[in-house]
């Protein structure tokens, strides 16, 4: 079956497995190990991010309560803003850009296309360790003099460009932020290169583009977005660093006066930072969601025992979202001082991107329709993904119109929107992927009842936290406000803030079900078979967990599409992609 060419391939595994703890688990070039490393990094990051958000929610509702671990006993305005900044930065970069792509993409892209590893395994390892360095750098921001930066994950200049004089944390803290983000850009560019080359060149025989699982489509298009977007952020970051430390003025105009002191800069444009940042920043949010969309399609199909409804449309919708995603960045800048005519153009393009998203939603419903739905935990999270994506996506339609944005910009409405799509839907994509692929990755099954409990709490909790935020925003609740003490009309919104905070506490606490399930099952879960879900794609033909070279030397060829479920005239209700046509067990209809 597999042609063993010259060069040291033996019958038992085409690649010699590494020996020794360091080579196996620390500096490994095995994409599976690297995938798990990314996943664990993201898991650490999300726990930190959740703690930060719980502190934020606490402060919003009980700003005057004595906090023993805070110097001075009460959280200050700048400490709140540092929480805001770090929560956003850590979650967007080190969770949402890391777990779906670096974690699951790394682990399963090669296997789902029948390859032994990524195209460039050592580059892969380098990508992870640079990401790890970036993570250390961002955490260091908490501990440097002045503390963490307060300019938000968006780091608008001149607030972020002048150093300590604009506020606490804007000295060393902001520098660590830029350093971390720049390292992250480098790592992501290298990773994107790997994903793209692997997908283009290393697919199994018979796997044409339209036989790739939608998860692979998701990772592939995401990698292209990353390749084209992260370089722009890197450029912006370098220019910002120069403005702060080398006296340049890329983003700083003349005549800045801070604390009655004229700043010695001239000729720069604060809007230039916004353009560079959002040119990256908008594709970035599609980087966060597209892998989840791929997983949702994949899991919905598997547990409804039906092919994905409109597979080709789904694949092309992923491409359309990716493409259009580069053309809409100005919708973050409607009231920024940018030309209002550009604003309107961006608005029309942004409304258009709702179209492929809507197509995907209808096709997900179509996949479920007429199905035979089994409510395993991965499926619950995939269904939850659809519900949350619809809710979050629709609120985007308001924000996409500049006239309406006049009312809603920088309010909690925006916070509701992006949390529903990113902070919940994308997270649900990660959970669905975890519960789905845990058996394959670790050779053990997770606990179903605990998984379901985790789902119910998180699904209800997420809606209780973020749906009310729309109403806070419509009523004029402004984002990034440390407290409501100064503005009279904000007092009326405190009760709903309290509701949100309680919901947040409960939902955060409920994640313990996941953590217990995850770590307990790692050690003591029932052993998993090769294909516990009776799924069709290539990862399910190999052992759980897969051997070092993924297929023990027997690399598959592909004979059909990835979602052949309940095919009429076939005995089983699923057909593996790699099953030869003559070996498919057919029955007379």
């Amino acid at each position: 079956m597999s042609s063993h060419a010259h060069g040291g391939h033996s019958a038992h595994g085409a690649m010699a497995a590494p020996q020794g703890f360091i080579r196996k688990y620390i500096f490994s070039v095995d994409h599976k190990v690297i995938g798990i490393q990314y996943f664990l990094l993201a898991l650490t990051a999300v726990l930190i991010g959740i703690v930060l958000s719980v502190l934020m929610r606490f402060h919003l509702v009980w700003p005057n309560v004595h906090l023993p671990f805070v110097s001075g006993g009460q959280m200050t305005q700048e400490q709140y803003l540092a929480l805001v900044t770090m929560h956003g930065t850590i979650m967007v970069f080190f969770v949402l850009t890391t777990a779906p792509q670096g974690g699951f993409g790394n682990y399963f892209l090669p296997i789902q296309i029948g390859a032994p590893d990524m195209a460039f395994p050592r580059l892969n390892m380098l990508s992870f360790w640079v990401t790890f360095l970036a993570f250390v750098a961002i955490l260091a921001a908490f501990f440097v003099p002045g503390g963490a930066p307060i300019s938000g994950w968006t780091g608008y200049t001149p607030l972020s460009g002048l150093g300590e004089i604009t506020g606490p944390g804007e000295g060393w803290g902001q520098t660590m932020w830029i350093t971390s983000i720049s390292l992250f850009c480098l790592a992501s560019l290298l990773g994107a290169l790997n994903f793209i080359a692997t997908t283009i060149d290393m697919r199994a025989p018979g796997m044409g583009l339209f036989r790739m699982p939608l998860t692979v489509w998701g990772w592939f298009v995401t990698a292209i977005l990353g390749l084209l977007a992260f370089g722009v952020l890197l450029a912006g970051g370098i220019l910002l660093l120069l403005d702060r430390s080398a006296g340049t003025s890329f983003f700083l105009p003349a005549g800045l006066v801070v604390n009655d002191q004229i700043q010695n800069h001239a000729g720069g444009s604060p809007l230039l930072w916004q353009h560079l940042f959002w040119f990256f920043g908008h594709p970035e949010v599609y980087i966060a969601i597209l892998p989840g969309m791929g997983v949702a399609s994949h899991v919905l199909s598997t547990f409804a025992r039906k092919p994905v409804f409109g597979y080709r449309a789904m694949a092309m919708a992923i491409c359309a979202i990716g493409f259009l995603g580069f053309m809409v960045w100005g919708h973050h800048m409607f009231v920024s001082g940018m030309s209002p005519y550009s604003g309107f153009a961006f608005s029309v393009l942004t409304m258009s991107i709702g179209v492929p998203s809507a197509i995907k939603t209808f096709n997900w419903l179509g996949t479920l329709w007429g199905g035979k739905i089994q409510f395993k935990t991965p499926m619950l999270f995939a269904i939850g993904f659809v519900s949350l994506f619809v809710s979050g996506g629709l609120s985007g339609l308001f924000l996409a119109q500049p006239a309406v944005d006049n009312l809603l910009h920088a309010t909690y409405y925006v916070v509701a929107h992006f949390h529903l799509v990113m902070g919940v839907a994308a997270i649900f994509g990660i959970f669905a992927a975890t519960y789905f692929w845990f058996p394959k990755m670790f050779g053990r099954m997770m606990n179903e009842p605990l998984g379901k409990l985790h789902f119910w709490f998180t699904f209800v909790g997420a809606y209780c936290i973020f749906m009310p935020m729309h109403w806070v925003g419509i009523a004029g609740g402004i984002r990034r406000y440390a407290d409501a003490s100064a503005v009279a009309y904000l007092q009326k919104l405190q009760p709903i803030h309290q509701f949100i905070t309680i919901a947040a506490f409960i939902t955060a606490a409920a994640q313990i079900f996941f953590l217990i399930n995850f770590f307990y099952s790692l050690k003591s879960g029932p052993k998993a078979s090769k294909n516990p879900w009776d799924a069709t794609t290539l990862e399910w033909i190999t052992d759980s967990p897969p051997p070092h070279d993924n297929f023990a030397g027997n690399y598959p060829s592909v004979y059909r599409g990835p979602y052949e479920f309940s095919v009429p005239g076939v005995k089983e209700d699923y057909i593996l992609q790699s099953l030869k046509p003559q070996e498919v067990d057919r029955v007379k209809e």
Partner: protein
């Protein structure tokens, strides 16, 4: 597992409790839809009434968007709830289908028409402020924001704004904007921390900042604009109702961000004249 004499597809072992799970999920979806629709429809949380005609145009556009999104929201979320319950595994076969090109075409077209239509309809409310120059008799007020105060400058009786010199900025001695003491036109300029305007008159604000990016937002105007150092951005509005309205800064500007606010005072013509005459009291 049911044994039939026609084993076309091996049916999976029925998920015990799947009706409960499906039912609960569907129920939660329905509750979520009902609560959401109710709170939006009953306007339990809303912006205060708009006080300009453009503001009302924004509200019209918002309402239109709400109807469209509500329709899609209700249909898809309830559709999801229904599908999840109706097609739960109770021993049936799944219906094999790769899709339906006609449906793809129909819902794609419908979505394009709906979403792009919404976007284009929304042009008017945006254009009336942003594409339209101010009226000839608009009252001009300079808005200069800095950490963490609003400054409003009126040109005074001579109608001319005095030149500004950053070197003369001194908030402590009452010259936060740095009005050039050598420029006679600046002697009668009025600089105040709140914005007072006469009702039913167009006001043009020229919005800028001295240090970092701030923002000027009044809910009742349905209008906000970032204050960007190095830029002067004009916006105009015509308030139609006397009253006092909160001005807030919505762009993160440093540790005083949530404490930075001011007031828009819409007053009668007589009160406005008195305000100007008294030099801003």
């Amino acid at each position: 597992m049911r044994n039939t004499n026609q084993m076309v597809i091996r049916s999976r072992k029925r998920e015990s409790g799947s009706a409960a799970t499906a039912g609960l999920l569907a129920l939660l979806q329905v509750i979520m839809v009902c609560v959401t629709v109710y709170v939006f429809a009953a306007n339990l949380y809303s912006a205060p009434d708009a006080i300009t005609s453009v503001g009302r145009a924004v509200d019209e556009q918002y309402k239109l968007t709400l109807y469209v999104t509500a329709t899609v929201f209700i249909l898809s979320q309830l559709g999801l709830a229904y599908a999840v319950y109706r097609f739960r595994d109770h021993g049936q076969k799944a219906h094999f289908s790769r899709g339906n090109n006609t449906m793809e075409f129909v819902w794609t077209t419908a979505t394009i028409v709906l979403f792009l239509g919404l976007g284009i309809l929304g042009r008017r409310a945006w254009a009336e402020v942003r594409f339209t120059p101010p009226a000839a008799d608009a009252i001009h007020v300079e808005v200069t924001e800095n950490q963490f105060v609003f400054n409003f400058r009126y040109p005074g009786p001579d109608g001319i704004f005095g030149k500004l010199d950053p070197k003369q900025i001194s908030a402590s001695t009452g010259n936060p904007l740095g009005i050039d003491s050598h420029d006679p036109a600046g002697k009668d300029d009025i600089v105040v921390p709140t914005l007072t305007v006469p009702v039913n008159h167009q006001v043009e604000l020229m919005i800028g900042s001295q240090d970092v990016i701030h923002n000027f937002f009044v809910r009742e105007l349905r209008l906000q604009q970032d204050a960007v150092p190095g830029l002067i951005v004009p916006i105009h509005f015509t308030p139609e109702k006397i009253g006092q309205y909160e001005i807030v800064c919505t762009q993160l500007c440093g540790l005083g961000h949530s404490r930075m606010h001011s007031y828009l005072n819409v007053v009668s013509d007589a009160d406005y004249d008195a305000f100007l005459k008294s030099g801003g009291q």
